[in-house]
């Protein structure tokens, strides 16, 4: 009956890390991916296709979510085909790691023990992680070297410790604006740090160094420099001969014929509609947090009536996003300091600057609380979206010759610098995923219903940091500075829903992300995170999946299942 040693559901960062480790260890693995394979040579910088159409995500009329928000004190669910607010993030081989900007950080050791450090917060379900930073560190390093994260270590009180002196790849090339940014930060007594980026600055094996295309985030990489799961992990895993890549394959549910084990996955070929079963010794779910919880909920059986591996009742609960916001200001040709306008307008080079000074706040006046991190970047260089954003004024469209004046001024006489804030989205009772009772996707499976309320503390922290960032832009001489911190969740930064922990009564997964209830079931994506840290999740997702994969190898070797 058995076709594979392990079936991995999802081919993004975590699925790739698990597949890479297991295939290198000699196990036969199938990676199941709903989307299709787009190869490196097929990716282009087509703004219309990649950024304005559903080319790499499902059509929302066929597959969607229902998002619950509080309206006038009542929870109201809106299907995303109505709102257009898609919660899909790159449903192709390699998942959303194909399309990331790749600004990554490790979580801080204190992020693993947030409750111990700051105590309970009213209305938030903060708990310590069952593991420490020290247990994760070797895997952060593995991700850094294998996925290829370039950077430059600089000492900073809130920079997590590392077991090697520096990154193996130097930072990617930088726009001259960093001179102005660094100087402005120094004036304000703020330390600007080089951003670690999962983009290669030098060739690495089959992958070529970054060619500075000017269109990185939201696009697939055409040199292989970006550390996507597809380039960095699945390609080498395929080369091992042990990986079967089942693209265009949707997993409906996991089947259990006894309480302790999944015996097969029920899958559909999305091109033919044909259904089949995939048998394996062990199953790894890595479908992105909200979809992983949904799959387990959709896998309820007589042995698991409330959803697979849900004896705790915690499945789908404590979903988290990344809180924070963003802001920007315009650097005008006639008021530019420190650098020449031509240097500023040079395209393709990165800004590569982060601020960690406000990661932990301990101030005589402001108080003591967990803060967040900041990334600086240029406004996304997409031409259509930039033009469209600048075609409105005072609630009216600008058209005619006035539009021509406005756009040419905007594009040729100035450039916008932007910041993004990442702070903890505190887990709470009103942020979770469940199954919608009426809505089904085109395969007949109930869709995920996401309630997405943020804790008030998230907004307070975001605004605190945004004010400081605006001062940096002011010091740089930027004009028309604004920022926006809202409680609206960023749908591309999602975690939680299958908490890990040592107590089966309060967590879905154990410390190795193995289901407490079902030993041959693991969840390898960001679902395990009880708290999310104040940095983008991706490095931690890669690192944790490598850690989980090492444990799976041990389980398989010792035939523990």
């Amino acid at each position: 009956m058995k076709q594979y040693d392990v079936v991995v559901i999802g081919s993004g960062a975590s699925g790739g890390a698990v597949a890479h480790t297991l295939t290198k260890a000699g196990y036969k693995v199938a990676v199941v991916e709903k989307g299709r394979l787009i190869k490196r040579e097929e990716f282009t910088k087509d703004e219309l296709a990649y950024c304005r159409r559903d080319i790499v995500t499902p059509n929302l009329f066929e597959e969607y979510h229902v998002i619950e928000e509080k309206v006038d004190g009542k929870w109201e669910g809106t299907p995303t085909y109505d709102s257009g607010w898609s919660f899909w993030n790159g449903n192709v081989v390699g998942g959303s790691s194909n399309f990331m900007s790749g600004m990554l950080h490790r979580m801080h050791p204190d992020d693993f023990r947030l409750k111990s450090k700051y105590g309970a917060i009213k209305g938030a379900n903060v708990v310590d992680w069952p593991i420490s930073y020290d247990e994760m560190e070797p895997y952060y390093l593995k991700a850094e070297e294998l996925v290829g994260i370039s950077g430059k270590y600089e000492k900073h009180p809130y920079e997590p410790p590392r077991s090697t002196a520096d990154f193996t790849q130097p930072p990617t090339q930088e726009n001259a604006v960093v001179k102005l940014l660094d100087k402005s930060c120094a004036e304000l007594n703020i330390k600007s740090l080089v951003t670690p980026r999962s983009v290669l600055s030098q060739n690495k094996g089959h992958r070529k160094a970054c060619y500075y295309s000017n269109f990185c985030g939201s696009y697939g990489c055409s040199s292989g420099a970006k550390g996507s799961s597809r380039e960095a992990l699945l390609m080498p895993a395929l080369a091992s001969g042990n990986l079967t890549l089942l693209s265009n394959t949707y997993v409906k549910s996991l089947h259990t014929s006894k309480k302790e084990a999944v015996d097969y996955a029920v899958v559909v070929d999305v091109l033919t509609g044909k259904e089949k079963q995939l048998y394996a010794d062990l199953f790894v779910v890595a479908a992105q947090a909200h979809e992983s919880a949904r799959l387990l909920l959709n896998s309820a059986s007589e042995f698991h009536p409330n959803g697979l591996a849900n004896s705790s009742g915690e499945l789908g609960k404590n979903l988290i996003f990344s809180a924070g916001g963003s802001g920007q200001g315009e650097l005008h040709a006639d008021k530019l300091k420190e650098i020449r306008f031509e240097e500023l307008m040079q395209t393709g080079l990165f800004v590569n600057r982060s601020i960690l000074d406000w990661y932990f706040i301990d101030h005589w006046w402001d108080g003591t609380f967990k803060g967040g991190s900041v990334e600086f970047m240029f406004e996304h260089q997409n031409i259509i979206s930039r033009a469209r954003k600048n075609s409105e004024e005072n609630g009216q469209l600008v058209w005619g010759k006035a539009l021509g004046e406005k756009l040419t001024e905007r594009f040729t006489k100035q450039k916008s610098i932007r910041f993004e804030i990442f702070n903890d989205w505190l887990p709470n009772d009103n942020c979770f995923v469940s199954l919608d009772k009426t809505h089904k996707d085109k395969y007949g499976m109930p869709v995920g219903r996401l309630r997405v309320e943020a804790h008030p503390q998230d907004l307070k922290v975001g605004k605190y940091i945004a004010e400081k960032c605006e001062k940096v832009l002011e010091e740089m001489g930027a004009q028309n500075i604004y920022s926006s911190v809202s409680s609206s969740p960023p749908q591309n930064l999602i975690a939680g829903g299958c908490r890990f922990g040592d107590d089966p009564k309060t967590s879905v997964l154990n410390r190795y992300c193995q289901a407490h209830d079902v030993p041959n079931l693991f969840v390898a994506d960001a679902s395990f995170m009880p708290t999310g840290g104040s940095v983008p999740y991706t490095w931690t997702i890669y690192a944790n999946a490598f850690r989980v994969a090492d444990h799976i190898v041990k389980v398989l070797k010792e035939k523990q299942i």
């Binding site: 990716f43 559903d54 040419t408």
Partner: protein, 166 residues
């Protein structure tokens, strides 16, 4: 060859005329009835003599048609594009096309004051800008004129097929 690939290739190879000889779909018939109005709105928004290329010289009406008639395009928006133009014709009692520039400006600004009209004009603006500033392969950024006007260019590799080969 799949029908869609044939159509896309056809438009690149200048076979549009032949393709237009094919029997009209119901959408194409509805489109024909409002085509002149849509064209006039685009030309009013993107006139000649501006610092960015005009709708007329870039033939943005063709891009708009190709886009909204594409099978992957949102079917509700496809309908909305037609109905919004019909509504404009109705509001102006069929005289919109014969108006001078000032009259068109007044008619469109009045239409914009309604929520429906504002949404529709926004959509036409978007559909026109998508043509002017997308890759020239889509047909309305001829010789990169839109990109040249803004001194902003799409990245490489450039698309070799529309919407990547589906």
């Amino acid at each position: 060859m799949k029908r869609r690939n044939f159509l896309l290739l056809g438009s690149m190879l200048g076979m549009t005329h032949y393709l237009h000889a094919k029997p009209s779909s119901s959408f194409e018939r509805s489109f024909k009835k409002v085509e002149a109005t849509l064209r006039a709105v685009q030309e009013h928004m993107f006139p000649q003599g501006s610092k960015i290329p005009s709708a007329q010289s870039m033939h943005t009406i063709q891009f708009l048609f190709d886009t909204v008639s594409h099978e992957t395009y949102d079917k509700d928006i496809r309908k909305f594009v037609i109905e919004g133009a019909e509504e404009l014709q109705r509001r102006e009692k069929g005289k919109f096309l014969s108006m001078n520039t000032q009259e068109k400006e007044e008619a469109l600004r009045t239409y914009e004051k309604t929520r429906y009209g504002s949404n529709w004009l926004s959509r036409i603006m978007t559909l026109t800008m998508e043509g002017l500033f997308s890759d020239p392969i889509y047909g309305s950024n001829k010789k990169e004129a839109g990109w040249k006007a803004l001194n902003a260019y799409g990245g490489v590799p450039r698309p070799r097929t529309k919407y990547i080969a589906l």
